[in-house]
Symmetry: C2
Subunit: 172 residues, 2 copies
């Protein structure tokens, strides 16, 4: 794929995130997951994250967690929600696991867009953990909306490609 800077649609933003995930696989720098945080209104890129669990020796370093940490450093705020801050969208190549789901409300993110589903991640052996059965409603209660399964086929294919690359499937 070609990297471009047009982030005007969810599909284009997802394309960019899937590009990052593919690079993470190719460079063997981590698991097949990437994320990015955008200004929800202008679609300006604020921060990116890739899975760094193996390379940083830290099980917390899922793509979404890395993107949240970098966005907060960029905006110099421990929450991405505030009067003088842009509203933030998290784009993730895959439905968040139980940890990343729990991290989203704390982070102040106001919109989540994801690609592959937890079932797709579980199909290659990752245990995504036990999310609340009504997790989307639980986010909505906290003012966070969700756009599911953008470019799911491409996102799921990437997970399969990782498996074919014999990438490490780690679980605790």
């Amino acid at each position: 794929m070609q990297l471009h800077a047009d982030f005007s649609t969810p599909e284009k933003r997802m394309d960019f995130v899937l590009y990052l995930a593919r690079k993470n696989i190719e460079h063997r720098s981590g698991g097949p997951f990437a994320a990015a945080i955008f200004n929800q209104d202008t679609h300006q890129l604020i921060a990116v994250g890739v899975n760094l669990v193996e390379s940083s020796l830290c099980s917390n370093h899922h793509a979404e967690m890395v993107a949240i940490a970098l966005a907060e450093q960029t905006l110099q705020s421990y929450t991405l929600h505030g009067e003088h801050l842009p509203r933030c969208e998290l784009i993730s190549s895959c439905e968040p696991c139980a940890m990343c789901f729990g991290a989203i409300p704390w982070s102040g993110i106001k919109h989540l867009t994801y690609g592959a589903t937890s079932a797709d991640a579980q199909a290659i052996g990752f245990d995504e953990g036990a999310k609340h059965p009504d997790w989307v409603s639980e986010l909505e209660k906290r003012g966070i909306s969700v756009t599911p399964e953008i470019s799911r086929n491409q996102a799921a294919q990437l997970l399969k490609d990782y498996q074919h690359h014999s990438g490490t499937v780690y679980n605790g």
Copy 2:
């Protein structure tokens, strides 16, 4: 309280963790939460963590997450579960929030002991997020046992003291 190095009972290990949380409040270095990771068999201390959300400008930096990251650095492994690794116990001053609950299986921790409950944290204004309703069973399914409410009264009192100190109650 006096700091001592006798970690032979859950109450003594919790005493140490509550001491860390109290220091975090007194030094205004973060929220009223602390955690530590011990060798489950010898009770040797492996790593500590305190809440660093405000001071590090990172909403991910709950006490448990910091302790997990430091334990993994100490053992140089992205999982605390392995043939050549000690079985690890996480002691937390408070029942884990949704994020920290999700982080535990990825971390390889095999036992969780906590003090105050989520209701105690919520009583002073923290939104602990939406954990799976059967979260204890979900951990047990993954080989992780749970000892609840060790020294709960002291742990809950500490949260109230933080409130009286006018500590920041942040939510996303």
